[in-house]
């Protein structure tokens, strides 16, 4: 280490929530002009630590030094004054405001809006030039992509004179290309002397852009190392506390009889936009079909149709029997009874009732099963026992069925959903974004469960925007673009480049294609979607 003054120094920070010690005596020095990664599993205390730094929580013990000066941060205003800016995982932007208005919001000077907007426009221009954060200040947030929205959040922090930027899981919602762009921006910011703290659970990101990395486990800081002097397996071991398999181990598939057949599936949404344009798929027993694609190309709609809560035209056969797609029997309950289990893409809005206790969630969707009911009453004791058993088998922490679902970390919430669906022993498992917002330890576990289900001779439809995940888990890969299947590949005979082209709607993957050509194709799709809407 140099004898420079650290931009941030935390000394002996401790924080407890009731009996849970979220941060235990944490000390860390973040040097100015560096990208400092903080990595750890969900629930390791990363977000708590950053919330203390940003003034959301008050530490029970410990001190904060900013640029060598002892600083009290009782609220986020104080953090902003101290030059700290935070980019949250879930953006805090007003959807129908312009970029400019969002940047100024909360930092207006004077009662009149016009002068502060004009001033902000000038500063935004300067910032954009300095850090290559190009963005149209008059675009509405609702009209720009997620990657752009994130840039607005960064601009907001810079506009407030932040010298220290904290980014919480910034790539969780980005496509690989958008993530690369973000990293270019962050490197630019660092080169201009800004200090960046990157909170993540993705080893690849840590290795790619950080200078130093601190590892947290169960509320403690277990190590701080130079990124150049470490390796992903070492970091993973420090995070989880044991050796981790970064690659899924699986035997070759032995596909059996056809479980799911989908023919010419069409969906037109309430705005009249055709979301699925004649999808055809087949999944056999003992096989994982991975569905790749950039988010918003119809994967969600396909899962909803198969899961039974979106009407569609076309044909679906399960085990050779026709499935009702429009009538009274086209509901999720009937699908479950037929042997389709579904881990939805969005566990917060679909997979779980966040205010319900874990045990109530473990019965969710299966709450009408006879084993959970006694006459007109629910057999709460039986449900609790079942939930406790499933939570133990899936190593959900804390193993407390009475805790509300919202109080579990992302990975443990996902384990609750996966446990509920897989333990029903379905013929077909639909699983969307199985590891979104889930830590390494849980990812490994969930992947093993999916493979184990396949090996029991079940069919799995895996939808994911993470190409790594699709490549390592799937036996076959189908790529979706604009409501259609662009092609199918076998993982061993394809690569990210080819899949990336298919994801952009280009099917003649043998020829070389320029970045501009891909961009143009994506823009054409956006334009046609806008026209239809």
């Amino acid at each position: 280490m140099t004898d420079q003054t650290p931009a941030i120094e935390l000394k002996g920070i401790s924080k407890a929530f009731g009996p849970v010690q979220a941060n235990k005596d944490i000390s860390i020095r973040v040097m100015p002009g560096t990208i400092h990664g903080i990595i750890g599993e969900n629930g390791a205390g990363k977000s708590t630590l950053m919330s203390i730094l940003y003034g959301f929580y008050k530490a029970d013990a410990g001190e904060i030094f900013i640029n060598g000066k002892h600083t009290e941060i009782p609220d986020s205003q104080a953090a902003i004054r101290a030059g700290i800016g935070m980019v949250f995982q879930h953006f805090k932007l007003v959807q129908n405001f312009s970029v400019l208005e969002n940047v100024v919001l909360g930092a207006e000077d004077g009662a009149l809006l016009r002068p502060s907007l004009a001033k902000a426009r000038r500063e935004l221009k300067a910032l954009a030039a300095e850090y290559e954060l190009n963005i149209d200040p008059d675009a509405k947030i609702e009209d720009i992509g997620v990657g752009m929205q994130q840039r607005v959040e960064i601009l907001k922090a810079l506009y407030r004179q932040a010298d220290i930027l904290i980014l919480d899981e910034p790539t969780g919602v980005l496509t690989p290309a958008e993530a690369d762009h973000l990293f270019r921006i962050l490197k630019g910011l660092r080169d201009q002397g800004k200090t960046i703290i990157l909170i993540t659970h993705k080893l690849r990101e840590i290795m790619e852009i950080t200078d130093t990395v601190s590892v947290m486990r169960r509320g403690e800081m277990t190590a701080t190392v130079k990124t150049a002097e470490t390796s992903p397996p070492e970091l993973a071991e420090l995070m989880v506390g044991r050796k981790v398999l970064l690659q899924v181990e699986k035997a070759p598939a032995t596909p059996g009889k056809t479980i799911l057949e989908v023919e010419n599936l069409r969906v037109i949404d309430s705005k009249g936009v055709e979301r699925l344009r004649g999808i055809g798929l087949e999944i056999r027993a003992g096989e994982i079909l991975g569905l790749a694609g950039v988010a918003g190309n119809g994967q969600s709609e396909l899962l909803e149709v198969l899961g039974g809560y979106r009407k569609a035209e076309g044909r679906i056969r399960l085990n050779g029997e026709e499935i009702d797609l429009t009538g009274r029997k086209s509901d999720a309950r009937t699908r479950r009874a037929r042997g389709i289990a579904h881990v939805p893409e969005d566990r917060h809005h679909e997979g779980l009732i966040l205010d319900f206790a874990a045990w109530e969630n473990v019965a969710f969707g299966y709450h009408d099963k006879p084993e959970f009911n006694k006459g007109i009453f629910m057999d709460n004791a039986a449900i609790k026992a079942d939930a406790a058993a499933k939570m133990e088998r899936f190593d959900v922490r804390p193993p407390n069925p009475n805790l509300a679902a919202k109080n579990f970390s992302g990975g443990n919430q996902q384990k609750i959903v996966v446990a509920r669906e897989i333990e029903r022993n379905p013929d077909l498992l639909l699983i969307g974004q199985p590891t979104r917002g889930v830590d390494i330890g849980a990812i490994e576990f969930i992947h093993q469960q999916i493979v184990a289900l396949r090996d029991m001779g079940k069919a799995v439809l895996l939808v994911s925007v993470e190409l790594d995940e699709i490549m390592s888990l799937s036996d076959r890969i189908a790529v979706m673009f604009d409501g259609q299947i662009m092609g199918e590949r076998v993982p061993s005979e394809t690569d990210e480049r080819e899949l990336g082209l298919l994801m952009a709607g280009i099917t003649d993957t043998d020829k070389p294609h320029s970045e501009a050509e891909i961009e143009a194709n994506l823009a054409r799709k956006r334009a046609s979607a806008a026209k239809e809407a």
Partner: protein
Amino acid sequence: MQRMPQWADVVLIPLISLLLAALLSALVILAIGENPWAALKLMVDGSMGSTYAWGYTLYYATNFIFTGLAVAIAIHARLFNIGGEGQAMLGGLGVALVALYIPWPHWTLAILGGAVGAALFGAAWAFIPAWLQAKRGSHIVITTIMFNFIAAALLNYLLIGALKPSGSMEPATGRFPEATHLPTFQDMFSTAETALFRGAPVNVSFFVALLACVAVWALIWRTRLGYEIRAFGQSESAAKYAGISPTRIIVVTMLMSGGLAGMMAINNVMGEAERLVLNAVEGAGFIGIAVALMGRSHPFGVLLAALLFGFLYQGGAELALWTSIPRELIVVIQALVILFTGALDNMVRMPLEAMFLRLRPAPKPARKTEPAE
């Protein structure tokens, strides 16, 4: 991550809110030149000082329990039923028809029949807004409010027309037959030597209201339907994912809600008036909203809140009777109670939470439930 002990949340916060409301009310009473302490004493005496006083307080509370439960059950499905007033009016119509046109041999059967009639009519009145909400997306707050007016007009029409005995000058039905008269607390609890609850309207339907509290609690927290209602209320998208039909939940919940509001009629129409008069509900449907909010949509909370509003109602009537404090002031006091317990809940909650956070003992050094590696 419990921030506050349960008892503070359930008991302390409402209590402090009530004290604040009482304090402000005292200032208002002082401002119009009356003695707040004497006023409070009068209210307490008049509503709890004798079995007679209790007889009125409990009578009003019975009404509020039914309408409060009606609002509470709908809130669990995230439906805001403002139509308790109209549904209770229709409940009165149901009771009147049952009592007048069916020859009942005994009150025990009559109260059953009355309850069924009241619930059916109240539920039917809630069905139309529910259906419109479920199928057409018409906002239930708007439709239930409008149905209150339609109900009032309908009852007006019937009570000056078809239901009015010929020759009568009053917009009311004829008296219900003797066999449908419900036993009052006076009939039930008075002994030969001492007359209790003399002349007070509280009657056996108070016990029906208590039963309704238990039934609603069991429904919400112990049955599959209650589970689905709560799930739907928390997240419609999750409910759809789980195969819970939004239409079914909206309609069934509103039917039960309307039914409960309607059942209030066995108390005020069958138990007290023993005939159906115009404006029999007297705003109890709206008070039910405050009761449900204050009671946190929990049947036990509804019971306590209903008792409180019964006290305010009866105490207020006494105040108007014996002092020069105008009756309108009672509405002010009631409004203050609603304001503090409902709308300004966070004002009390946040400092209290902060206080408990400071008072909490230091956390234990190690977690007990650390799973072995």
